[in-house]
Symmetry: C2
Subunit: 343 residues, 2 copies
DNA sequence: ATTAGCACTCGACGATGATGAGTGCTAACG
DNA sequence: CGTTAGCACTCATCATCGTCGAGTGCTAAT
């Protein structure tokens, strides 16, 4: 059996209607809803076919039909090519505030949540090029030294180092030169044991300080391992009855709190490295607890090789059209942010 | 009518039983539950008295009784003096990891959540003494200067400042000296417009840089306004049926996500500045959406005049005993943390 | 190929009644 | 006089049952 023109129209009508109501949709509804001028009986025949083809299912005999995962997939695929919708009003909101990165990302998450009424997430960009850009020790007071480490992409890290006795200016200068000449421009892999012990040796009695600095460097570089994830609109899931029974809601809320669980999503999104928007429907989701949801994700590129992810999570009957539009807008905002920031 | 000895025993028995089961408790249960050897009929008479006194209420005729807010309050008050319970096993867990502050606080929140099965929150310490301890400008590359600001309590802030053209070492040194001699040890209030314009004047053509630094200083000092709040165990609320109907759950989850809402709690806790543990029962809560909950909070002091708050939020029938114990332990851990950190 | 018609299915809903936990009151008891 | 047994009464809960209606599949007519 083929999926001919008419079946396609009917299938889309079924899905669209279901997205709006959340109720199984019957043949009579479609008969009136479309301008095909077909009686409910004809629709019923077609629906039987569509069910056989696996695009729709009946929750129970003598209920209407609801889309299967395959049905949603079909809908999304055909929608994605159809139009390049725009959600203009979002454009400027993000740019208004020239705040620090984390504020901005938090804002982005909230913006998406408000706009779509689904749960959203934004990860901080993680830097793929982890080279040291700048290193500096300063004397804070007699007992403490402040170490500032800047790595590519302007991720900055501070560490306070305790010292036994005050260091004079000359020593500080010496240490600074030592560190910068040897470590500048290096990546995590390039800082090996040989280099470290060589540095310590050259620092003489100040070896322990060097060691602490290098520890801090290591920590800074690996910081993206427990990377920041901002979420928003978590409680939107209560708006969709199919997700808000206690067990499911609890699992979902938990997934959003234990942000580690969301990292699976990130890996999956990053993996293919593509610039496309991804849609996971139901069982396609890499996160087991979200098999009743659909997830839409995209990567953004923050310049300097730093990439992050944005995502929206909602019920399977989400408004794919709007969600994809929103994601696209936010993505392009974040993509261009870096350049604009540099002015 | 008086609250005599026997009534007290019965009241406590009712509350204790209700805390365990979550069900209204009847006279027969109490008759067997206590070792008073009274028949259910007698208990009924006493219960009628207790209801008249306002300690317990009937959800509907011919259901058992449940504690009123006043009843909980009585129970908590009498319990608080009774014993100084200890939760030893928590002691060391926190100290194991010598991580950065935010990790530690996150950990503390999680620890409390796991230990009590309620929702928990921990705020980062906010510094009451906001004086500048250390200031430094460094040249990162030709187009960027890195400003590092340290304020009392070792809160550190970095800002990258764009410059039109490279500054030479001598200029950098001059600016550093200028900033440090004039700003060191000052608080936000003391940095007034006169001082700022005087500084700008002295900096000559580098006035704009000074301006940016001062902006960053301001931002650092006021940073405690949108202060970090760590939460954990949010989804524990699903474990308590009385909180997990959709409307209430949604409101609560929302309160935990929009962390601003929790700040009311902080203000309230800080206000009296006392070192006590506070218990808010039902309507006593400063947060309207939590009027079906109880909240237990305490302040901790992180040295250098920095104080933060920890809190546990659960159903009114929470295990006050355990919660207060847990809070006490975590509080004392955090209180002593600073000193131990200094070694 | 389409449609009208019809018998059939099945969940949702409301009414109904039984069950049982729990109460308040009264009268008897030690 | 405090305590208790007993009893009538209340009320939430739960299962049962019939009704209703949306929706289906099939068949026969167009």
């Amino acid at each position: 059996m083929e999926l001919d023109e008419r079946k396609t129209v009917i299938l889309k009508a079924i899905i669209k209607n279901y997205l709006e109501t959340g109720e199984p949709v019957g043949s009579r509804t479609i008969s009136k809803y479309t301008d095909l001028n077909l009686s409910s009986a004809t629709i019923r025949n077609e629906m039987a076919d569509l069910e056989e083809l696996g695009f729709i299912v009946q929750p129970h005999t003598s209920a209407g039909r609801i889309p299967s995962d395959k049905g949603y997939r079909f809908y999304v695929d055909s929608m994605m090519q159809e139009h390049e919708k725009e959600v203009e009003q979002l454009k400027d909101v993000l740019l208004e505030r020239e705040e620090k990165l984390d504020h901005m990302l938090k804002q982005a998450a909230k913006l998406m949540a408000v706009n779509t009424n689904y749960a959203t997430m934004v990860t901080a960009p993680r830097n793929s090029r982890n080279t040291i850009k700048f290193l500096q020790l300063s004397r804070m007071d007699d007992a403490h030294i402040l170490a500032v480490i800047v790595i590519e992409g302007n991720v900055i890290k501070n560490t306070v180092i305790d010292v036994e006795e005050a260091l004079n200016d000359e020593t500080m200068l010496k240490l600074n030169i030592l560190l910068n000449t040897h470590l500048n421009g290096l990546s995590a892999e390039e800082i090996n044991l040989g280099l470290i012990s060589s540095l310590k040796q050259q620092a003489g009695m100040y070896g322990p300080i060097i060691a602490e600095v290098i520890d801090a460097v290591a920590e800074t570089i690996k910081e993206d391992e427990d990377l920041e994830i901002y979420t928003s609109g978590t409680n939107n899931i209560f708006k969709y009855p199919e997700l808000s029974d206690n067990q499911k809601a609890s699992d979902l809320i938990n997934a959003f709190e234990e942000k580690q669980l969301l990292t699976q999503l990130i890996d999956d999104t990053n993996e293919e490295g593509s610039d496309e928007i991804k849609v996971y429907i139901g069982e396609e989701s890499p996160i087991q607890t979200m098999k009743d949801c659909s997830i839409v994700t995209a990567n953004y590129e923050f310049g300097d090789g730093m990439r992050g992810m944005i995502g929206i999570i909602g019920p399977k009957r989400m408004d794919y059209d709007k969600v994809v539009g929103t994601i696209k807008t936010i993505k392009s905002q974040l993509d261009t942010m870096y350049r604009k920031d540099e002015k």
